[in-house]
């Protein structure tokens, strides 16, 4: 590729200001001597200028306010979610703890055993399964209630 062809390939980028200084001066130097490249460069420069003056889309009225309102809503929902997560975790821990506390209490009252259908409810394993189930049911009920409230609020 000779110098003319090589410069010709660079005219669009030269007009867009996208060449390295060294390449730009090479284009400028050649365009001073070559009519064809000078005209080509002028043409691309005109394109570039037109591209900077396109009809502008105007942002819809109130878009910024709507965006801020959405951000606030998003932020409030995220805070709500975090709060609910903590609440449910606390509820599960409370359910588990109170299960063990009542185990100790019942043991102290009735002695070491409390049979129901032939199963000793005060057996450590039986009681822990029962208290975990109660804690799980408590947390799940809480989650359903919170979820229902959120849905209701969204609906309203």
């Amino acid at each position: 590729m000779n110098e003319h062809d090589s410069v010709w390939e660079m005219l669009a980028l030269a007009a867009a200001g996208a060449l390295e200084p060294k390449e730009q001066s090479r284009v400028d130097r050649h365009a001073r001597e070559c009519d064809l490249c000078r005209k080509g460069l002028e043409k691309w420069a005109a394109y570039s200028q037109s591209l900077r003056k396109l009809p502008q889309p105007v942002a819809p009225e109130g878009m910024a306010q709507r965006t801020q309102a959405l951000i606030l809503q998003h932020h409030a929902e995220a805070a709500d979610r975090r709060k609910h997560e903590w609440f449910l975790a606390a509820l599960a821990i409370f359910g588990w703890g109170s299960g063990w506390a009542s185990w100790m209490l019942v043991r102290a009252i009735v002695g070491g055993s409390l049979y129901l259908f032939g199963v000793n409810l005060l057996n450590g394993l039986t009681w822990s399964v029962m208290s975990m189930a109660v804690a799980g049911i408590t947390a799940a009920t809480g989650a359903l209630m919170l979820g229902g409230r959120r849905e209701m609020r969204r609906f309203l």
Binding site: A12, A18, S50, P57, I71
Partner: protein, 194 residues
């Protein structure tokens, strides 16, 4: 000296704004949205070609920005970071809508000299006679998104090539070749119309 002081003040303000954004300060958020409103909306309209979708993506951009602001590296250019978020959202939207890859560049394979000969009529002068701006905008709308992106970032946002590379997450050499192809494709469309 004055210029240097002004620049450092500007940077200080930016850093302060970023710190306020990290604290979700409503006034800082409001200021920033107001300041970037026109530019960001214009970029999104050019990308998705639909004002309602552009507004939706504008809102999503700010929500995403606030989600990610904690990991923002202050050494990065804020404009490029913001536009990269908007760009990724609009590309995701276009991918979902069309179900095709938008990264494929068209390449006619013709040499520039073959397509731009001196014997052609001066298309620009004719454009001046035929509502140049509107036609040019319509021609841009007809280009693939990756070409629209590079043109609007270079000519409307006046971004340096390095910034465009940061926004589009591509190497500098790819930005150059993409810009070259975008300009060529645009010229072909304009001259094809006339």
């Amino acid at each position: 000296m004055i210029l240097a002081a002004a620049m450092s003040l500007k940077e200080f303000t930016s850093d302060r704004e970023i710190a306020l954004l990290k604290k979700r300060d409503p006034d800082a958020i409001s200021d920033l949205i107001g300041r970037y409103q026109q530019r960001l909306y214009r970029f999104l309209v050019r990308m998705v070609q639909d004002p309602a979708t552009a507004e939706d993506l504008f809102q999503q951009t700010w929500i995403r920005l606030l989600e990610k602001i904690g990991s923002y590296d202050a050494r990065r250019n804020f404009d490029a970071w913001l536009f990269a978020i908007a760009r990724n959202l609009s590309i995701d939207h276009l991918r979902r809508r069309r179900g095709v890859s938008l990264d494929d560049e068209d390449d006619s394979g013709l040499a520039m000299a073959d397509r731009l000969s001196a014997s052609e009529p001066d298309a620009l002068e004719q454009l001046l006679d035929f509502e140049r701006g509107a036609m040019l905008a319509a021609a841009i709308a007809d280009l693939p998104p990756i070409h629209r992106e590079v043109l609007t970032l270079r000519f409307e946002e006046d971004m340096k090539l390095e910034q465009i590379a940061e926004v589009a997450a591509i190497p500098l050499s790819t930005v150059k070749s993409r810009l070259h192809r975008a300009l060529e494709a645009l010229r072909q469309r304009i001259e094809g119309v006339l």
